[in-house]
């Protein structure tokens, strides 16, 4: 009964590349689990959230069930 959470970009260094959480996982529980610096970043508007590979329009509505994958996506820099 777990949810896999992936931390991309600088979040991977601030938290871990990935972590397992007990299911079901909601937004507040996830936020409260993070170290302070990461929590401020993740709560801010620049971090997007994907659930099972699909971006959430409102990340605070997150509820991830057993076996789901959540990805926390900070601002990108490609090319």
């Amino acid at each position: 009964m777990s949810v896999k959470v992936l931390f991309l970009g600088r979040l991977s260094a601030m938290v871990a590349p990935e972590r397992d959480y007990p299911a079901p996982l909601n937004w507040q529980y996830l936020l409260d689990s993070l170290p302070e610096e990461a929590r401020a970043l993740v709560a801010g508007e620049k971090v997007r959230v994907a659930l099972d590979g699909a971006l959430l329009a409102d990340k605070t509505s997150l509820i991830a069930q057993n076996g789901a994958e959540v990805a926390l996506l900070p601002p990108v820099s490609g090319g």
Partner: protein, 153 residues
């Protein structure tokens, strides 16, 4: 012709371009961009990470946008992921068209979007460790041009 790839090993930009050029025999002009890891300063290596379920589908959708907006014979987008050394190619974009303006604008558009609107994260290793890179302000400005500029034929 659409050729979108996420590559986890090194590639030759010259061979990529030659391969692409063969696929678009009717194109009068091909505009290409090759982006490389800069060797200046103290940079020892560059790492590009991605998020599998979003990155390649996002590149593919970007290619479709460019193909819909300009009259192209073909479009190639190759992007590296993983750890690269200075001088190594990171990205190769090539747009082929009958008329050169279409090719120039499409390649420019794709690069602006890859830079600050695609699912990649970049960090550099310097002598004091890894540093995350964020897009420059200029990159966001470049991106905003495409919402403002009228479509040109």
């Amino acid at each position: 012709m659409k050729d979108v790839r996420l590559l986890d090993t090194g590639f030759s930009a010259g061979e990529g371009l030659a391969h692409f050029a063969q696929k678009v025999p009717d194109a009068g002009g091909i505009v290409s961009f090759v982006g490389k890891v800069r060797g200046e300063g103290d940079v020892k290596a560059l790492e590009l990470s991605h998020y599998e379920p979003l990155t390649l589908p996002g590149m593919d959708a970007l290619a479709d946008q460019a193909l819909a907006r300009w009259a192209l014979e073909g479009l190639m987008i190759w992007h590296r992921i993983g750890v690269m050394q200075p001088g190594a190619p990171i990205v190769l974009v090539s747009a082929a068209a009958k008329h050169r303006r279409d090719a120039f604008e499409a390649a420019d558009f794709v690069m602006d979007h890859l830079k600050s609107d695609a699912w990649f994260w970049k960090r550099e290793r310097r002598s004091d460790g890894w540093h995350w890179i964020e897009p420059r302000e200029q990159d966001h400005g470049d991106l905003a041009r495409w919402d403002i500029l009228p479509k040109q034929d």
